[in-house]
Symmetry: C2
Subunit: 179 residues, 2 copies
């Protein structure tokens, strides 16, 4: 697996996920892009890493799932993290970053050794306002309309992809400079 | 829904999809980014738009699913299409475009009124060599390793997202020029 500076410094946090399928899909989505640190905060009673549907969806990513202890609050998940990006599907949140801009920012922070976290809310309700605004930055994936919303596993996939592509671009720029 | 020139001119073609969940997830993924033309070529016996799991996954996207007639060959799906992008997970295919580069190219073609298609293969086997190389371009989504592969519904989400973001950027550049 290609490991770039962003990889060991980034965690993905799912707050109150409900569907085990989404937890498993998130694990796989992260791993396709080289990320392995998944944290679950107050998962719903089915959304356990050990649920058969979580395991079924986490194709070749059981290591990511199994390393995931359920946490009782977001603060514990963010211990040691210096910059937190909270995701939202809402339009009109002021100062919100696009997924791409947030990824570029995170890659720059990781290059300085900072730990970063991307936080995703519940499938139906998203993040609580207090969790959204407690983060240092808010992130929104561009969408053509408010409905349908982006599935939770898909949102994790898109964010992980943007981070990986930004990290690849940063490496290419650095190699270009070095020549 | 925000409609850009790329939207009515792009179709997504799934060849021999096996899991109805992925067909439903693809429909939802497309619609989040404003796309509605989904075509199924030789779907597996469960991968029908009417399957309960396809419908369950196609949250608020049943219109995309229901407009999908199963086709018996890829040629029928590509009737009227002037440029086809075939997706592959394989490394080392020569001349392969990244998803982002392909999206930028497709947006330019759509601005000239060309119809484009993005073709995705079976979950396990991908596209047959002949289908991959019959396309005008081959596309690969960057990945950190060969395993796990990107789930089919996730691949459709990433490609639809890149197309939408490229189309938004093209519109911004155009508006910038006009001022």
């Amino acid at each position: 697996m290609l490991e770039l500076p962003i990889h060991p410094l980034t965690c993905f946090v799912l707050v109150r996920p409900h569907y085990p399928e989404n937890v498993g899909a998130a694990a796989r989505a992260m791993k396709t892009m080289g990320f392995t640190r998944l944290l679950l905060v107050k998962p719903g009673k089915m959304a356990e890493p050990s649920h058969v549907m979580a395991q079924k969806m986490a194709v070749k990513s059981l290591d990511v799932l199994q390393a995931t202890p359920p946490l009782s609050d977001l603060g514990s998940a963010l211990a040691g993290v210096s910059f937190t990006y909270a995701t939202t599907a809402r339009r009109g949140v002021s100062g919100v970053l696009t997924a791409r801009r947030a990824a570029q920012d995170a890659v720059q922070r990781a290059a300085r050794g900072e730990r970063v976290a991307f936080v995703f809310g519940n499938e139906k309700t998203g993040l609580a306002e207090e969790d959204l605004y407690a983060a240092q930055a808010q992130v929104r994936i561009p969408m053509a309309a408010d409905q349908p919303s982006i599935n939770l596993g898909q949102a994790v996939q898109l964010m992980a992809y943007e981070l990986f592509v930004s990290a690849l671009e940063a490496r290419e720029r650095q190699e270009g400079t070095r020549d």
